[in-house]
Amino acid sequence: MSPGRAGAGGGLARGLAITLRTMSRRSATRQYPDVPPDLPPRSRGVIALFEENCTVCMLCARECPDWCIYIDSHKETVPAREEGARARQRNVLDRFAIDFALCMYCGICIEACPFDALFWSPEFEYAEYDIRELTHEKDRLREWMWTVPAPPPLDPGAETPKELAAAHKAAEKLAAAAQAAPPRAQDAHAQARDAHAQARDAQEPQEGNA
């Protein structure tokens, strides 16, 4: 309000009212070390490694924009399971480390991981006095896994996740096949195709997903 409209006294009184009103309300202070902060879901605190899922494909390390992921591994020979089969090889993870002094928390490694081995955790209290301590080795990254929250529920109206959509489709296909029962062996192939089309019609909104 311009001072001219209410006169100088009005402005002064408004000022006093504002401070008094603020005083009667709860203060905005977050008492952080005493009261843990209320973080939003999907907060980017630290990256956790689910070591059991890692296949040492190195995709995360290669996608990392600032090269802060260090991976060492060796190959082990898995003896043939059946007589006469060929022995196979698999990768064994020796070292997996993320240097959080370099990490810029872009989350590209987590997006890139095809095996769900990397996750965001909301924990953020891992400051150190020595910068070298910020390189978390794989045992420490594995420990962060325990702090990873369950994924938040989907927004209303969101697309069904791919895995669920595929499962639904398979189930509907089976049901359709059972309904069109009297089995005429020679037509089985055509029937299956019809069921497939039916299922697709039923799931029209998710077409792009199918």
Partner: protein, 319 residues
């Protein structure tokens, strides 16, 4: 003889205790009230419960700090200044009546004494400003002097009004003569006295002599440690004194329903101290020219008009 001496010692002790405790209380009130007015919490740790011991911790910290006297400073004056700034307020508290007959020193000229002694506090500030040998201190001191010249006049004129109405200069006498309807009759004088008192003790929005964004810290720039703490204590003691004088002159001192007199005095002093803090949080600092304009074009005419009104009504009531 012995008993008399004991009573005097006791009175001095009580005044000293009030002098040391009330400013701390006001200081803590300022910490918390200002914080909440700014949507903060203020001190929360010292002492455990909502930072009640924050000022004690501050005091301990100030005592530990080194006393630095600038090489070019006028050493004796520099070191004496905090005492000169602080002591007048202690002396004023001695003549403020807290209850009927409960006053440390009965003076017939109580009001005169209080106003005269309050002015000495400014001398302490001028001493600090001049002796610091620092240009910021000096500018702050000169601003303070100009402020004193401008605001002493409305302060005294406003204080004369209740004295005229009561027909006495004794603070106890003024409270005894006070009637509730004086609240309305003496309202302009009360406002002028309170505002001029704020300027007298250099509280924001009248803190041009300190003006930390322009003058570093004005006349306090060079001070550190215990002497700085004494200046800060003087500021809070000043709040208590101005609030107490306003309460005694315009709000009827110890008069009030139900509760005993001294409690009413305390309530009024604390409430006025809160208003002092409230004004500090709400308003920005006045510019030097605005400061002078407010005194000469605002407060002095109002005080003079109030004096005329008081005179007319007093004569009308008497006849």
């Amino acid at each position: 003889m012995m008993a008399e001496l004991l009573v005097i010692v006791l009175k001095v002790l009580v005044v000293l205790a009030a002098f040391l405790l009330l400013p701390l209380l006001v200081g803590q009130l300022e910490h918390k009230a200002m914080a909440h007015m700014q949507s903060r919490l203020g001190p929360m740790y010292a002492g455990g419960f909502h930072g009640w011991a924050q000022l004690v911790a501050d005091g301990v910290k100030f005592v530990q700090k080194g006393e630095v006297v600038p090489a070019a400073a006028d050493r004796a004056v520099y070191q004496l200044a905090p005492a000169v700034a602080l002591l007048p307020y202690l002396l004023v508290l001695a003549v403020v009546p807290v209850g009927p007959g409960a006053v440390a020193s009965t003076l017939d000229l109580g009001l005169f004494f209080a106003l005269a002694v309050t002015g000495i506090g400014v001398v302490g500030m001028l001493m600090a400003a001049w002796a610091s040998a620092n240009k910021y201190s000096l500018i702050g001191g000169l601003r303070g002097a100009a402020q004193l010249l401008a605001y002493e006049l409305p302060l005294v004129l406003a204080a004369v009004s209740p004295a005229m109405a009561a027909g006495t200069l004794s603070l106890t006498g003024i409270v005894q003569a006070w009637r509730p309807w004086w609240l309305l009759w003496q309202l302009p004088a009360a406002v002028v006295f309170f505002v001029a008192g704020l300027a007298e003790i250099r509280r924001p929005p009248f803190d041009m002599p300190i003006a930390d964004s322009e003058l570093v810290f004005g006349y306090l720039t060079e001070y550190s440690g215990l002497r700085f703490a004494l200046f800060i204590l003087a500021e809070y003691a000043g709040i208590v004194v101005i609030s107490a004088l306003t309460a005694v002159l315009f709000l009827g001192g110890w008069k009030g329903p139900l509760l005993p007199g001294p409690v009413w005095t305390l309530i009024k002093v604390i409430a006025l101290s809160f208003v002092v803090i409230w004004l500090r949080v709400t308003y920005p600092r006045l510019r030097e020219d605005q400061l002078q304009k407010l005194a000469w074009l605002g407060l002095v005419p109002v005080a003079l008009a109030q004096l005329a009104l008081t005179g007319v009504v007093a004569v009308a009531v008497a006849s």
